[in-house]
Amino acid sequence: MNIPDHLRYLESHEWIEPGGTEAKVGISDHAQEVLTDVVYVELPEVGKTVSAGDPVAVVESVKAASDIYAPVAGEIVAVNSALQEDPAVINTDPYGAGWFFAIKPTDAAELDSLLSAEEYRAKLS
């Protein structure tokens, strides 16, 4: 299972990239495997202000739709609109080309309270 060390994670299987003012968010390798073939993605509007835990995007496989939650409070500053044409990259490259949106955290310290790679790995085992 691929769980990069530099990312933070939610129990609901989202990842967020710490360290900048535009933190990219996506879903983990484990999540894409559980979802199976992603066929549709609904992304939030740029400029939207969200609270931690808000459902902000939807990812759909042939069989099911799942919400994607905002890992921290902040403003949506970018979305990966390429996903709408090719949602399958979420399966092939969940930590790279498969990112969903970028968020500008209201409080960057909030990321520290999320799961580390090691803690997330422990949750999965």
């Binding site: 199976t36 073939d37 066929v39 939807v58 042939v62 739709a65």
Partner: protein, 377 residues
């Protein structure tokens, strides 16, 4: 319906599914594979090559009469909508069992075997209900013998344009290497000395995918070996997920979703399988009323016209002008073959003509769609 995993029945192929990394889900009281490598891949395998499905959950019933086939056919004709009396030995037909309101209890395939009466293949979820109706109606046909062989049988559906070639490789292992029966046909394969086996191998040229293919019924204990043989011959293991997208593209109804106790087979578009001219059958009078007064609704094929989330069961179908709901999807999915959303819904007759514009309400947003001709592909 909540189903605890420990209460679920397991297919004779359970260990194979686990070894192949299948995702197992509860389905009609069974723990069955929804997919192995992925629904899209499995769907494509069946449309372009060949897939093999575990259908061991399905029910197998034999019906015969001590007075011969004619008496058994008369009894079945009283219970089922199609005409059992036209079947020649070795032929099968799609047929339905109705309640008094004309609603559907089950849809099934009825085969007339060459030697011993009739063989019925029914939905797993309806097996016990089917048996109750069959036995109840047999009271007035006292020569009829009904036997449920579901526990003794395992079953595989081998489907796709290459299914015949794959069959021919595997058939070498069958006693007498028999040829496949013609479309809708059935053969029985019996090894010498095994004539009294209550669950002989039966091979039927039928399926639920719209592709050429066959269904292979064999003693439960033999199922893993035959499954291995079909895989070895090149069939791709496929789960219920692909089975659902394949059948939906062909507009084959799924009982419990597109068929229920409230809509008649006439509303479901299954009139060719309802023979009003034969002697009366259960539900006949309700259908007659519909034929006189007109159908209240029609199971319609709906195709999303733009970019939209995949349609799903339960989504409302909305009139684009009044914004009022006119029905709801009884089935819905992305069509892997077309790359667009498709679904089925009972719509009022005046909204059911192909070309009628409708909308789907998906999470509060309306997406344009159109009533299409059946099947989608």
């Amino acid at each position: 319906m909540s189903e605890n995993t420990e209460d679920l029945k397991r297919s004779p192929l359970h260990d194979r599914h686990v070894a192949l990394g299948a995702r197992l889900v509860p389905f009609a009281g069974w723990e069955m594979p929804v997919q192995y490598e992925g629904i899209l891949r499995e769907h494509r395998a069946v449309r372009e090559s060949c897939g093999v499905f575990d259908i061991s959950h399905m029910g197998e019933i034999t019906v015969r009469s001590t007075e011969g086939t004619k008496a058994a056919a008369a009894y079945l004709n009283h219970l089922l909508t199609n005409d059992a009396s036209v079947l020649k030995p070795g032929q099968g037909q799609y047929t339905l069992m109705l309640n008094e309101r004309g609603g559907v209890i089950d849809d099934l395939i009825l085969y007339r075997t060459r030697t011993d009466g009739f063989f019925l293949v029914v939905n797993a979820s309806k097996l016990s209900e089917d048996l109750i109706w069959l036995e109840q109606e047999a009271d007035s046909y006292y020569t009829v013998r009904i036997e449920d062989h579901s526990a003794g049988y395992g079953a595989l559906a081998v489907q796709g344009p290459k299914s015949q070639a794959i069959y021919e490789k595997v058939a070498k292992r069958l006693p007498g290497s028999p040829a496949l029966p013609p479309r809708n046909g059935i053969i029985k394969v019996v090894a010498e000395g095994d004539e009294d086996n209550p669950t002989p191998i039966r091979i039927c040229r039928t399926g639920y995918t719209g592709e050429d293919g066959f269904e292979f019924f064999c003693p439960a204990a033999q199922t893993p070996a035959w499954f291995d043989a079909f895989l070895e011959a090149g069939a791709v293991p496929c789960g219920l997920g692909a089975r659902d997208t394949l059948r939906l593209e062909k507009c084959y109804p799924l009982n419990g979703s597109d068929l229920d106790g409230y809509h008649t087979p006439l509303e479901a578009g299954l009139k060719p399988f309802v023979k009003m001219g034969k002697d009366e059958f259960l539900g006949h009078d309700a259908l007659k009323v519909q034929l006189t007064k007109g159908l209240p609704s029609k199971l319609s094929a709906i195709c999303v016209t733009g970019k939209a989330p995949p349609p799903r069961t339960g989504y409302a179908v909305v009139d684009p002008e009044t914004k009022e709901p006119i029905g709801e999807l009884s089935s819905g999915s992305l069509s892997p073959s077309l790359g667009t959303g498709i679904g089925l819904a009972y719509l009022p007759l005046e909204k059911s003509a192909p070309g009628t514009e409708v909308c789907l309400d998906i999470r509060g947003r309306l997406f344009p769609a159109v009533v299409s001709k059946k099947p989608f592909i």
